[in-house]
Amino acid sequence: MHESAAQIFINAFLANNFVLAMFLGLCPFIGVSGKLETAVPMGVASTFVMLVASLCAFGINILLAHLGLEFLRLIAYIVIIASTVQLVEMVLKKYSPSLFRALGIYLPLITTNCAVLGVALFQTAREYDFVQSITFAVGAGAGFTLALVLMASVRERLQLSDVPAVAQGTALSLMLAGILSLAFMGFAGLGG
């Protein structure tokens, strides 16, 4: 069954949101969503890395299939994605220091998280073509950013609330994520 780009995007963005429905990228989601001002660059940086990962994975996959070395896929993905991100980081540092300053500190955090690897693995498993892969990566990144931004603004508001002492911290974040995930269930079936 062929999925259109729009469908793939909507699916990755809302209906099967990486964080809220697929359980990918939860650690940064819980960890970085305390403040809006860190959430936004984190989201943008993640989207960027996902895109890089998606491109790498697409290339590697063709190469490995050609060589008949599919069993090395995982190890190749992780090594190449990590080094490409590092390379991009260095290039950024050299040619766009302002952009680097905005995103740079987040890049090393992201290189090996499961949302990024997830993009690579899922697009391989679903046999997406080039355009589909890119759409998927951008959609997933946008969905991740959306969830992160919503969560951060809610958590900022809760800073001003009298949240009971036992609930403060990770427990509250998880419950919030649960409620958001409940709300996002409304989008189920949207991308079809």
Binding site: M1, A15, N16, A21, F71, L72, I75, A188, G189, G191, G192
Partner: protein, 233 residues
């Protein structure tokens, strides 16, 4: 010259590369060993899984053969290690104990409530009908979506008429899912109340796959029938 006591590097590049090489070699060895070691078991597992799935939808089957249906309309047997030609569709021909063609099984996929629903359906060439289906994978809601496997009314939809039109290019009647209680035709699927979306997905998956596959298979039925099943003990 005064010796400035800042060692530029604690490890020499040669040592670094040597170690990395060693580790990579070790890892490569482990992976290859694991791959080789499990290869047969995995293949066997996959084969058994496919067989089981096909045997489930075609209860009389005792053996299966994998085929490709090429866009040109020809069907070819799949040998070990063959890769699918472009645009071809894989399907399984199942043979009963006496080696007669018991049915044909193929995969279909359609978007369900939360993700794709992948099914394996059985086609009976004799009666030109879909006789049943089994699940390959889905992420539908437990308790709702999975009613398609247990709901008696729903299972009663099968056999489902799937005759080709006279030009052998497409189905005479597209297979459609209709609301619960309003099935009037043999090619209609009566949906499950409360799981209409998943029911629809099943209908669509079958229809899409059948529309593609049957025009390629039906003209070649004799070829499939002649082949008296794989030489298996």
């Amino acid at each position: 010259m005064i010796d400035v006591a800042i060692p530029p590097q604690t490890t020499s590049p040669v040592a670094m590369i040597r170690t990395l090489g060693l580790v990579a070699a070790l890892c490569g060895f482990i992976i290859v060993a694991a791959y080789q070691g499990t290869f047969d078991a995995v293949q066997e597992n996959k084969r058994i899984a496919v067989e089981r799935a096909v045997f489930k939808v075609i209860p009389t089957a005792k053996a299966i053969v994998e085929y490709f249906a090429a866009p040109s309309g020809s069907v070819t047997k799949v040998g070990a290690g063959d890769t699918a030609p472009v645009g071809s569709i894989k399907f399984y021909a199942a043979y009963d104990a006496s080696g007669k063609l018991a049915g044909i099984a193929a995969e279909g996929v359609a978007k369900g409530y939360s993700d794709n629903v992948r099914i394996l359906f059985a086609y009976d060439p004799g009666s030109a009908a879909i006789t049943g289906f089994g699940l390959v994978a889905m992420r539908e809601t437990p308790g709702i979506g999975d009613k398609i496997l247990v709901d008696k009314d729903f299972l009663a939809n099968f056999p489902l008429e799937a005759k080709l039109a006279d030009d052998l290019k497409q189905l005479a009647h597209a297979i459609v899912t209709v609301k619960h209680g309003s099935k009037t035709q043999a090619w209609e699927i009566d949906a499950i109340t409360g799981a209409t979306i998943t029911s629809r997905a099943v209908g669509r998956a079958i229809n899409d796959a059948a529309q593609m596959l049957l025009p390629r298979i039906v003209p070649n039925l004799t070829q499939l029938k002649e082949n008296n099943g794989p030489p298996r003990s």
